[in-house]
């Protein structure tokens, strides 16, 4: 990835990422540090990005930014309570909202994606992040751990538990992976 391409990506997603990490980190310096850390990681690992500006890159940057922000928060304020707007709450609300408006006569394929989406949204955030990297980005547990600043064992557990929970939720709705 060239400097120009990287700059394009940086300028495109920096405000979004800043907004995202602001939900977790109170201190301005922490937010900037985390974002610098994330972009530095991507600069040193350009192969992780397929295209500088695309939905996948956006999601990937968001996932590793929130992961690192949460880790920093955990390290710094282990005991400090911080009111974070959890994406889980947002998803829960969205699932209920969507359930009301879902027409049952949708195409089967569309139905399946909607059901799976609903199930994923019900997953705890930690599991969802790891599963996203594992399923969409096709990373192994070691790579997930590296990208989210986790211990490999923790990443592996989250992927396993996340997948188990997702399977359970899908089974309840008559689906299987």
């Amino acid at each position: 990835m060239s400097k120009e391409e990287f700059m394009k990506m940086y300028r495109q997603y920096y405000p979004l990422l800043y907004s995202l990490v602001s939900e977790y980190l109170q201190e301005e310096a922490d937010r900037l540090d985390v974002l610098q850390e994330v972009f530095l990681y991507v600069w040193e690992h350009p192969s992780k990005i397929t295209e500088p500006v695309c939905p996948k890159t956006k999601n990937y940057l968001c996932i590793i930014s929130t992961g690192r922000a949460k880790n920093l928060l955990k390290r710094r304020n282990g005991t400090e309570s911080r009111e974070v707007v959890s994406p889980d709450e947002f998803f829960e609300a969205q699932v209920e909202e969507k359930a009301e408006f879902q027409p049952e006569q949708n195409m089967e394929k569309e139905d399946t994606v909607q059901v799976v989406t609903a199930c994923i949204k019900e997953l705890p955030e930690n599991y969802r992040e790891c599963l996203y990297l594992s399923v969409v980005e096709e990373r192994n547990s070691v790579q997930v751990a590296e990208e989210l600043n986790l211990k490999p064992a923790a990443a592996k557990k989250r992927i396993q538990r996340g997948m188990k929970l997702l399977r359970k939720k899908l089974r309840e709705r008559g689906y299987s992976i």
Binding site: E4, L20, E44, P46, K56, I120, L131, V136, S176
Partner: protein, 259 residues
Amino acid sequence: MRRKINVVQKEQLGEAFMRCMDGWLAPYEEKAEKADCPDVSEQWEAFCKKAGIGEDDAYAVDKDDLAAALEETARKRKKKVRLIVKVASGVAAAALVGGVIAVRAISRPVKNIVWRVEEDEKNKMWDFYFNVNAKGEVVRSEDIPVEIETKYEPTYLPEGFEKVREFEGKCIRILWYKKGGKYLLFRQYVLSAVFSSDQKICLKGKQIDINGYNGHMESKKGRYKVILWTTEDYQFRVEFDTEYKKELLQVAESVSEKK
């Protein structure tokens, strides 16, 4: 009624995750436009400084690729070293195995030859002592006395020699004669009791005749002369100082049954 199970395809799962992300990030994207975000250009400059990105056309190189390349080089080098070590070990092992096989291959027949020679020698001695007497007559084992029944003694002794000690066992009898610091020894064995290295030495010596029986004369440790002869029932040995060679023969010839 059995419930229908729908299998979720990998693409569907990926699509669902992407939708999730869209839904999750939508409010943050709205916020990002309104939020008091620091100047991106300033942040970019700071980032370039931190990452060491210069004014020139820099290019991001994957650290993992570099590490992988270095690892690959190291692996190839290790492989080469391992190959050399393996070849060297193989050659050494082959040489060692070859050497062992060669030694074994040679040692076995050599051992067999030595064993056969020894066995032949033993058999000859056995024949000499037990199966064939000094006159060349075959002696039957049942005729050989197992205990000393008839006692023999030298009737002639050099001047000044006197019997100083006597030992009598079941199958051996030894007499010691002494004069000053010199000794004369007389031994009588039943044939079943003879077979020692002494006899081997004696057999190598000069062949002599003692009263019609074949005998041998040999030096023992360079200090003594030994005369050994075998009759139908016993073997006799006389040991004397080397300087009394002539007297030794007379002593041997004088050995007769004790009356």
